[in-house]
């Protein structure tokens, strides 16, 4: 599946994760969706079962931000930091300390518009390769949980299909 808007993720160099995604909307709308709590809560959710319960955003340089999620099974996860740069509709730089991780990363998000489409590039820079890889690993854990959800759904459908009336 290679649509023109497809998400690109790479881990170039030793300490970074870079994501690039194109959205079919002008950049002021995309920027809004990245910066207003009532909108963030509707899409920044991760795998099924997670709800965003805290969404405190930074409105100016020096402000702190904090996001928290809760899963229906009771698990919780949070992350937050401080805003370092804020150019509306163009560029945001903030620090991030994820709960349970020993150190800070710096996330740079840029928004560029061409022909009514917006390219968002998020570069997350970690203090060391070990920590970057640990974050990728946590993505794996959450990803696996999500895959299990999918598998369960698939199996339900399959059980129906595989049990024709005798």
């Amino acid at each position: 599946m290679n649509t023109p808007n497809a998400l690109q993720v790479s881990a170039p160099g030793d300490r970074e994760i870079v994501m690039t995604r194109v959205f079919d909307a002008p950049r002021h709308l995309v920027f809004e969706a990245f910066s207003k709590p009532e909108l963030l809560k509707r899409w920044l959710l991760g795998p099924p079962g997670w709800e965003m319960v805290v969404c405190q955003v930074a409105n100016k340089i020096g402000d702190s931000w904090r996001y928290e999620w809760r899963h229906t099974d009771g698990r919780q996860f949070g992350t937050g930091g401080v805003c370092r740069e804020l150019v509306p509709n163009a560029r945001v730089v903030f620090t991030e300390n994820m709960d349970g991780y020993p150190s800070e990363s710096v996330v740079t998000t840029t928004f560029t518009e061409q022909d009514g489409k917006t390219t968002v590039t998020m570069t997350q820079s970690f203090p060391s390769r070990e920590i970057r890889d640990m974050v990728l690993k946590s993505g794996q854990d959450r990803g696996v949980a999500m895959s299990y959800d999918r598998l369960a759904e698939l199996l339900k459908g399959h059980a129906r299909a595989a049990n024709p009336p005798l």
């Binding site: 808007n5 998400l7 993720v9 790479s10 881990a11 170039p12 160099g13 030793d14 994760i17 994501m19 995604r21 959205f23 079919d24 909307a25 709308l29 995309v30 809004e32 969706a33 909108l39 509707r42 899409w43 920044l44 959710l45 991760g46 795998p47 390769r129 070990e130 970057r132 890889d133 640990m134 990728l136 690993k137 993505g139 794996q140 959450r142 990803g143 696996v144 999500m146 895959s147």
Partner: protein, 123 residues
């Protein structure tokens, strides 16, 4: 090596463009150190050094021929590294697909508001 250490070694080995080129060459089939050195216009010791890093990461192994000592690609750690990135990618793709839907909704709401000021979105 624990899976986490193995992944560290894999990412470190892949961080260098020459080593990625060596792996790309080995993906076409095994090759001796001499054969590997040629296209890169590098000395044999320089190539050997890169091969040592790749071997330590478990990405390259040595073939049986004692004379040529051909190196060959070991695909598993590479698949592991891309597997982790792939799962990370999948989580974010889920987020961004939801955002696509939300943007469609916001655009439609704004268009309605422009056509019928006073109706539609309450602000």
């Amino acid at each position: 090596m624990t899976p986490s250490h193995r992944l560290d070694a894999t990412f470190a080995a892949l961080a260098d463009p020459t080593r990625r080129a060596i792996l790309a060459r080995l993906a076409d089939g095994e090759a001796s150190v001499n054969e590997l050195a040629r296209p890169f216009s590098m000395t044999q010791p320089a190539v050997s050094k890169h091969l040592k890093v790749l071997e330590r990461a478990g990405l390259v192994s040595r073939g049986r021929d004692a004379q040529r000592r051909p190196r060959r690609l070991v695909a598993r750690p590479l698949a592991e590294a891309t597997g982790w990135l792939e799962r990370y990618r999948r989580i974010w793709e889920g987020n961004f697909l939801r955002l696509d839907g939300l943007l469609v909704e916001i655009k439609a709401a704004r268009t309605r508001t422009k056509r019928n000021p006073g109706k539609g979105e309450s602000r």
